[in-house]
């Protein structure tokens, strides 16, 4: 599959809505984005049309109101985003500052196996 262009920040915002809500109309995307910042419906429409041309999103023209869908999964784009300089240079440092339920780094295979063993024991022990 040919490479898609890296989405801009504005495009990424639209993609995030599509990943979170599933295939949506422009109206629905606009409503979500407008919750956090002022946004014009026509701007979003234009952006999404451009994104369809770039094939970042797919358009389903069967219905009267066109439904858009992200053409690539989130994880795929996430890997692409890692190419961004600031993100790449400071991802580790940023992760240390964010307070999550999980550690900044993914658990090792050995640790995952250990966790699985404990949970299996729990199932049996009950």
């Amino acid at each position: 599959m040919p490479d898609l262009p890296r989405p801009t920040d504005a495009e990424l915002e639209i993609l995030t809505v599509l990943w979170s809500r599933g295939p949506s109309t422009v109206r629905a995307v606009h409503d979500v984005i407008a919750q956090r910042r002022p946004a014009q419906y026509t701007t979003i429409l234009k952006l999404m049309q451009i994104m369809a041309e770039k094939r970042l999103v797919r358009r389903d023209e069967e219905q009267r109101a066109h439904v858009y869908e992200a053409s690539r999964p989130r994880e795929w784009t996430q890997r692409q985003l890692a190419g961004d300089l600031l993100d790449r240079a400071f991802a580790g440092s940023a992760a240390e500052l964010m307070m999550g339920a999980l550690a900044a780094r993914k658990a090792s295979k050995k640790e995952l196996a250990e966790i699985r063993r404990m949970l299996d024991q729990l199932e049996e022990g009950r």
Partner: protein
């Protein structure tokens, strides 16, 4: 480089040197304190480590700011000072005029601090950017979930929940206006209860001001980067911080086991490669701790305070906000919690439970409890409430007769069945088993409303230690005993997986339920039901692989990640209070299922290709909903993993 020859640089050099022993001493003290606090709550160890970090910062600052004489007094006790001060004996001269070695040390240290602080600032900017760019307001249903979690956690401050394309795991960013960041679409992958415990963990970070404390501790670590003792204290802080949050989640009503499972499945959902080596905060340790909690808060306050005083000695006092947040809100105190989680645990409805948890005052709770029993009183006009009396009689009976080595009677399988369904009509005990088999009991109920006639429940004491366990979960029992008023269940269909793609994910649709089965486990999505109980049984052994039930809103999804050994399985979904789904809902369901499927596929397959979608041959049309359609309906699906 002229600055390096000023008295200020000399003072810094002295402070850097002295901090080698100061840091080691404080770390050693912390080590002693931590050993003393081994059995104390994680919060005590966390505070001790924070105090040690503050003490390190303070001792460095004090040494740097104290005039030379101070340094002269300390210098003789530290041999390295002699090593670095070839002049040897004359310590006051050493303190006044920096030696070349000290000068170099200061220069190198300064360069290191600049690099590290720049990196930290970049990280801070990158974290802020995660909130401002490519992040969108979370779906209203998640905001509602967050509100519920906030009520449980008693947090009044505004907390924003956003979904982000950049985040790999849920996290809190910001202190004054905290934002919880969730990976886009991530919340779809967990059942609401599990998502709520994760939100509770994040709220615990917010409540404890962890973001700010971490920022400050990181700054100290960056400045004193050259001392391994500082790294160690930082690690202790991070470890105990997560333990504290885990404890708060449990305190706020999270279930240990299910929380441990949630953390494990979250780690499984996480994108990216596993680390090669174990990272600092070990998830395995946290899960071990959750599953086997240390024996209560045994340490009394006196040694705790003494230990704290030791660490704090000579250091600045911790800012007041670091103290554990006092119980500002009147917590659900013990008798009410006990009432909810023990007395009526098996008979209270989900809706009632939610309502009870949202109550604020004890007066309201008392009133609720009164109403709760009143609603169930078969003879409301009389003083006696026969239902309540019978219920408490059953609890007392189970505690007297079914207690086993590990559980009180009411918590055992026999206790649960007895409390919910009452004494069986017939009971067969085989304390010495059959033909050398383990001891067992069979209880027969002639009729259980909503389940069926002639229900037989079997309890087996596999280990011969008095722990009788039910061999058939009620879900299976429901399937086996046809409820008189439910339509006959469709014949289970064997669904061979297409041979060309033995490892792919497959979608099945049966009536209004869709099931995805594949490498990542099974996803089940139903529409129009008020409550769903899903269970997966391994046919060969009759083992119930999992069984969970949850209240559901239309179109909600549920993903359970399981690794299934080869075999034949039966997936059953029991729905109550269903409505007939409309075409829009069905479309929505398929769409969400596809999303969930893609999410699962992306973990193993990078490219989204076309997905196999199989419609079950005997797809059943649901009967139109009627007013009296409250009877549970069971959808079954048999499949084989090979």
């Amino acid at each position: 480089m002229n600055w390096l020859h000023t008295p200020m640089a000399a003072a810094l050099g002295r402070a850097l040197l002295h901090f080698i022993w100061e840091g080691a001493l404080i770390a050693a003290l912390l080590g002693v304190v931590l050993a003393a606090l081994r059995r104390a709550p994680a919060q005590a160890r966390y505070l001790a480590a924070c105090a040690a970090m503050a003490a390190m910062a303070a001792s460095f600052a004090v040494t740097a700011l104290t005039p030379g004489a101070e340094g002269a007094r300390f210098a003789p006790v530290f041999p390295s000072a002699f090593l670095l001060a070839p002049g040897g004996g004359n310590t006051s001269a050493w303190a006044a005029t920096p030696r070349p070695l000290t000068t170099w040390a200061v220069a190198i240290w300064l360069a290191g601090v600049i690099v590290l602080l720049a990196r930290r600032a970049g990280g801070w900017l990158a974290a802020r950017r995660m909130v401002s760019r490519g992040a969108v307001a979370a779906d209203p249903r998640w905001s509602a979930l967050l509100d519920r979690a906030r009520t449980r956690a008693g947090i009044a401050r505004a907390v924003t929940l956003v979904e982000s394309a950049r985040a790999a795991t849920p996290a809190v960013i910001g202190w004054l206006r905290p934002v919880i960041l969730a990976p886009a679409g991530w919340l779809l992958c967990l059942p609401p209860e599990q998502a709520e415990t994760v939100l509770l963990h994040e709220l615990a970070h917010i409540r404890r001001h962890d973001y700010l404390v971490n920022l400050l501790a990181s700054a100290v670590e960056d400045v004193l980067f050259y001392h391994p003792a500082v790294w160690w204290v930082g690690r202790v802080i991070r470890r105990e911080r997560e333990n504290c949050c885990d404890d708060l989640v449990i305190e706020w009503g999270g279930d240990r086991r299910s929380y441990a499972r949630t953390l494990a499945s979250l780690e499984g959902l996480r994108a990216g490669e596993p680390a090669l080596a174990a990272s600092g905060g070990s998830l395995a340790d946290r899960i071990r701790r959750l599953l086997a909690p240390p024996e209560g808060p045994r340490a009394s306050a006196v040694p705790l305070l003494a230990a704290m005083a030791l660490v704090c000695a000579g250091a600045v006092a911790l800012p007041a906000w670091q103290a554990p947040a006092p119980q500002a809100r009147p917590e659900v105190s013990n008798p009410y919690e006990k009432w909810l989680n023990e007395d009526v645990a098996y008979i209270i409805e989900d809706r009632e439970r939610a309502a009870f948890k949202s109550l604020r005052t004890n007066e309201e709770r008392e009133h609720f409890i009164e109403q709760f029993w009143l609603r169930r009183d078969p003879t409301p006009g009389t003083v006696e409430n026969e239902f309540k009396e019978e219920h408490y009689r059953r609890i007392a009976y189970t505690n007297e007769h079914f207690a086993d080595p590990t559980l009180p009677g009411w918590k055992t399988d026999r206790g649960r069945i007895y409390i919910v369904y009452g004494p069986p009509d017939e009971k067969e005990s085989h304390p010495s088993g059959d033909r050398g088999g383990p001891p067992y009991e069979e209880w027969r109920y002639r009729l259980i409303q909503g389940i069926g006639k002639d229900v037989i429940v079997r309890f087996v004491d596999e280990n011969r230690d008095g722990r009788y366990r039910m061999t058939r979960d009620p879900a299976v029992l429901h399937g086996q005993v046809a409820a008189p008023h439910s339509p006959p269940a469709a014949a289970p269909a064997e669904l061979p997986l297409p041979p060309d793609q033995p490892n792919g994910d497959y979608l099945y649709q049966a009536g209004d339920a869709s099931v995805r089965i594949g490498q990542g486990g099974a996803t089940m999505i139903t529409v129009g039901a008020a409550k769903v109980t899903v269970s997966l049984t391994r046919q060969e052994t009759g083992e119930v692989v999992f069984r969970e039930s949850w209240g559901i809103r239309s179109g909600d999804g549920y993903t359970k990640l399981l690794t299934l050994p080869r075999g034949t399985y039966r997936l059953e979904a029991e729905k109550e209070g269903r409505r007939r789904p409309g075409p829009r809902q069905l479309a929505e369901m398929q769409e969400r299922l596809l999303t969930a499927l893609r999410e699962a596929r992306q973990r193993s397959v990078a490219d989204g290709q076309s997905l196999p979608f199989v419609t079950l041959p005997n797809t059943r049309q649901m009967p139109p909903a009627t007013a009296a359609s409250a009877a549970p309906e069971v959808t079954r699906l048999d499949f084989r993993v090979r």
